[in-house]
């Protein structure tokens, strides 16, 4: 079969979309649902830029075929915070000027959120491991680590 009905939940909202077999989760999110926040950096799963949370786990959406996301709960950057009400992680990234070109930031924020949900008091080493699959070329990662530490602190209190 080359077309399938994909039923899944994205950022809390249920969707039913007709997808082709070869479409990736990344394509469905960006092109069908118009959620452009998830980016494509390499198409081969080597940069982590396309990271989204699927049933609470960080995954590379360029390596997941859309139909494999059936019945799953997907969380993308669009589901995190808003301009009026930034998530503490987003606020920390802004305050630390941790976003430079911004391309890796959605994935970094999702990875950080995933980390802090499981480990509210991470060491710098934990933060490095949690973000180790996402490449950043602009920041040297340092301010990203600081932002996550600050966010962790705020979220604990």
């Amino acid at each position: 079969m080359s077309k399938h009905l994909l039923k899944f939940t994205v950022n809390g909202k249920d969707h039913a979309v007709v997808v082709q077999s070869h479409e990736r989760l990344l394509d469905v999110l960006r092109d069908r649902l118009g959620l452009k926040g998830t980016k494509e950096g390499c198409s081969t799963g080597d940069c982590g830029i396309c990271g989204v949370l699927m049933d609470g786990r960080l995954v590379n959406s360029c390596l997941i075929l859309a139909i494999q996301a059936r019945n799953k709960k997907i969380e993308t950057i669009e589901g995190i915070g808003s301009a009026e009400n930034l998530h503490p992680i987003q606020r920390a990234f802004v305050n630390w000027n941790a976003s430079q070109c911004g391309f890796c930031i959605p994935a970094m924020i999702l990875a950080s959120k995933n980390l802090l949900e499981k480990n509210p008091n991470p060491t710098e080493d934990d933060i490095k491991k949690a973000t180790s699959g996402i490449l950043c070329r602009c920041t040297g990662y340092v301010k990203i680590f600081e932002a996550v530490k600050t966010a962790a602190q705020e979220m604990r209190s």
């Binding site: 926040g37 198409s43 000027n97 976003s99 070109c101 391309f103 920041t139």
Partner: protein, 778 residues
């Protein structure tokens, strides 16, 4: 609120700077942390055609026959373009007119674009690419500058294989070598480094009803693109509107040919079909198609007296610029000027060559010749110190540039030279003597070392071109101050810094300002966003225009308050009559007054840096208007059994003139340091017979979060004469020193020097084996 003069005076003088020097939030962060659709491929129009590119499989060949008939017929294909479809000139270049947009008759590198196929469905375009049949007649090819310079080498371009030969002649090197007590000669090699902006190149073109086109893309230099597209389409520049979409990293290539390649191909399709056309490169296309750092082979010969003072320095630098020169000639010019490192040397002879080969193109990439020159020079300095049995710090301090001394270009170092302070503070912070003593006594398979490297970096374009920037500012009736410039943001944070400077100049909160996307319809020609010149040249333009606009506001306030303009003081969005501070008007009141009376609050201007005068045959004269200086140490641990090098800690000390935004400054330093670390340890784009072997992120390694050492940044400020508040360029310098510092640290750890980067584990292991052999008792 202020009621009396004394309080007003205190308020104004209290903070020397309101905003400059403060870590203000960047203005582009909110959209980015929310994941807003702001990058090029997020905003492609609904009905756009998508292009896929047909590329050469051979590195050097005549195109005997290009058969597109099957592709044209393939269902769903909307257009197929070749060089014959270009309405104007088939050219997409950065400097020399040596490169076509689409190859016609001949290809010079593997991956060169030959044709493009467009369809509403990118998969269809991609399938049609497979149907293109090309018959090549292979030509002899060369893949290294050494081979390209032989008399038997094939000519890649009409005028031979040397795109540029830059010379520096100071004093008399032969005489200098005669005076030397010790002469040290060595050759150093560095590799193709791939910029890897995380967003690959992308762009789309919309044909407008009036025959003009609108181009949107991931670019650094909108005006360069405008000129290029106009030539390709045979339009006037005013008929080509170029808008920079938010750009996910650039580092150099997005200011060279590539955006013109991408938008040029899209534009030809758009104009032919009268439909919007988009082209997004895959990561592999990006890595093969765009410009990267020139590999250099550098031979250095230095003469010193036994007290350690330099007498002579001779350098030959060979740069592999690939099939097309791009900005290679300018890269070797900068490398030529900096080939000695930041030292006082009375006799210097440098020859830098930009050489064509049939590899992929090399061009602009952060550092622009500086990293290559310093890797060689700072490695060589260590060799010399070792042979003299002198402490490397002492040797450097004996010879470094200080105010009043002469550079290799005979330019006099002015008082804005913080090099010595950078060196001393880096030495102290890294615990240089303590650690090196400790490391000497180490045994076991893991060895530690501490190395240093120092630099200077001529700011802005210098001799590379006319250095100017334009800024437009306008206040609308709601009080929003729109700020427009052709200088682009692609991660540096520099345009946010310009807003900080504007806000500082006008004594207004930064929230009043709005940074508009660079758009050739709304700004004047501003030159490229390169050479770390946004804060320096853009900053001066900003000060100038903001100053004029501020004056307008003061004049309007004076009218409102019925006094003279020169009696107006302002602070924190409030305008006071100096002699009677009780008389005041808020920014809002001034705006409303201006609106009511039809006063336009808008100013524009261009700042042009003074021209640099120097002799192009000898490189003697003023090559740059100011210099950034730096010293970096690297502490490494080498696993002598696997060759793996772990960088534990780096101290990065820079003389930045004046810090505009500390957090953004540190971000640039940390990011550049990480790229420099990659350059030193793991990044290498490999070619074999012109074909890139690792054009992907699985086999081309850039540092991950797990590879980053502790980075301690030291900022030193010796204000220069060029930038606003004395600010110096800091975008590029941080990438220059990690490589020599790390190579020197490895030498300290193993007692063996590597002359080639990257110092990948296999190369280090060979060096370890050599060290073990040297240390075995005879």
């Amino acid at each position: 609120m202020v009621e009396d003069q004394a309080t007003l005076k205190k308020l104004i003088n209290g903070n020397q700077f309101l905003l400059v020097g403060k870590s203000i939030q960047r203005v582009d962060s909110i959209d980015k942390v929310l994941g807003k659709p702001i990058y090029t491929m997020d905003i492609v129009p609904e009905n756009a055609l998508y292009l896929k590119v047909v590329r050469s499989r051979l590195a050097h060949a005549f195109l005997k026959h290009v058969d597109l008939s099957e592709a044209r017929k393939y269902p769903g294909v909307a257009a197929v373009i070749t060089a014959n479809d270009i309405p104007g000139i088939n050219e997409s270049t950065a400097l020399l007119p040596d490169k076509p947009l689409l190859a016609s008759g001949r290809v010079r590198f593997a991956g060169e674009p030959i044709a493009a196929i467009a369809s509403y469905d990118p998969s269809i375009a991609e399938e049609a690419v497979d149907l293109v049949r090309i018959e090549y007649e292979a030509l002899p090819a060369v893949f290294s500058p050494v081979d390209a310079l032989k008399s038997s080498a094939p000519s890649i371009h009409q005028n031979g294989n040397i795109a540029k030969h830059m010379k520096l002649r100071k004093g008399d090197v032969e005489e200098g070598f005669k005076q030397a007590d010790l002469i040290v000669e060595e050759t150093y090699k560095s590799q193709f480094q791939e910029p890897i902006p995380l967003e690959p190149e992308a762009g789309f073109v919309v044909p407008e009803p009036d025959g003009s086109v609108t181009c949107v893309g991931s670019i650094q230099s909108p005006f360069h693109v405008q000129t290029g597209i106009a030539k390709i389409l045979s339009l006037r520049p005013e008929q080509v509107r170029v808008i920079q979409a938010v750009t996910g990293g650039a580092f150099g290539p997005k200011s060279d040919e590539i955006p013109v390649d991408v938008l040029g191909m899209a534009a030809v399709v758009a104009v032919k079909t009268r439909k919007p056309a988009a082209l997004a490169y895959t990561r592999e296309e990006s890595m093969v198609g765009h410009t990267k750092r020139h590999p250099f082979v550098t031979t250095l010969k230095a003469g010193v007296k036994k007290d350690g003072k330099f007498t002579a320095w001779q350098a030959t630098l060979l740069a592999d610029t690939g099939a097309y020169a791009s900005l290679g000639p300018l890269v070797v010019i900068r490398a030529c000027f900096h080939a000695t490192g930041p030292y006082v040397i009375p006799n210097v002879r440098t020859d830098a060559y930009c050489v064509y080969t049939n590899n992929t193109m090399a061009g602009s990439f952060r550092g622009f010749g500086g990293p290559q020159a310093h890797f060689a020079a700072e490695s060589h300095v260590e060799e010399i110190a070792k042979k003299l049995d002198m402490d490397p710090i002492e040797f450097r301090l004996l010879n470094i540039l200080r105010p009043g001394t002469l550079m290799a270009t005979s330019q006099v170092v002015d008082e804005a030279c913080g090099l010595e302070e950078c060196v001393n503070r880096a030495v102290k912070e890294s615990d240089w003597y303590g650690k090196r003593e400790q490391f000497r006594k180490m045994s076991g398979p893991k060895r530690r070392g501490l190395g240093i490297a120092i630099m200077y970096h001529g700011n802005s374009l210098g001799p590379e071109g006319s250095d100017y920037a334009a800024v437009h500012m306008q206040i609308d009736k709601d009080g929003i101050i729109s700020f427009r410039t052709g200088l682009t943001e692609y991660g540096t944070g520099a345009p946010s810094g310009l807003l900080q400077i504007a806000a500082e100049t006008m004594h207004l909160p930064i929230s009043y300002f709005k940074l508009e996307p660079p758009d050739t319809d709304f700004c004047s020609e501003t030159g490229p966003t390169v050479a770390s010149r946004t804060i320096t040249i853009g900053g001066r333009a900003t000060q100038m225009v903001a100053g004029k606009l501020h004056q307008r506001l003061r004049e309007t306030a004076a009218e409102l308050l019925d006094c003279n303009a020169d009696e107006i003081e302002s602070t924190d969005a409030m305008y006071y009559q100096r002699s009677k501070p009780g008389r005041r008007a808020s920014f809002r009141e001034v705006i409303e007054y201006a609106d009511k009376h039809g006063t336009e609050l808008k100013e524009a201007g261009t700042f042009t840096a003074p021209k640099c005068e120097y002799n192009p045959e000898t490189s003697q004269g003023t090559t740059y208007l100011q210099y950034t200086y730096g010293a970096v140490t690297a502490e490494v641990e080498v696993d002598t059994e696997t060759g793996h090098t772990q960088v534990l800690r780096m101290v990065t000390a820079y003389d930045v003139g004046k810090t505009i935004n500390p957090l953004s400054l540190e971000g640039q330093i940390e990011g550049g340091t990480a790229q420099g670390l990659g350059y030193a340890l793991m990044e290498e784009l490999k070619h074999k017979d012109g074909i890139v072997l690792n054009p992907n992120l699985a086999d081309y390694y850039i540092p991950t979060s797990m590879d980053i050492p502790e980075i301690k940044t030291i900022i030193v400020e010796y204000p220069g004469h060029l930038g606003p508040y004395g600010a110096k360029a800091i975008g590029e310098p941080p990438i220059v020193l990690p490589a020599p510092a790390i190579v020197n640290a490895i030498d300290n750890a193993l007692g063996v020097r590597l002359h080639e980067i990257p110092t990948t584990p296999d190369r280090v292991l060979i060096a370890c084996k050599r060290a073990r052999k040297d240390q075995r008792p005879k």
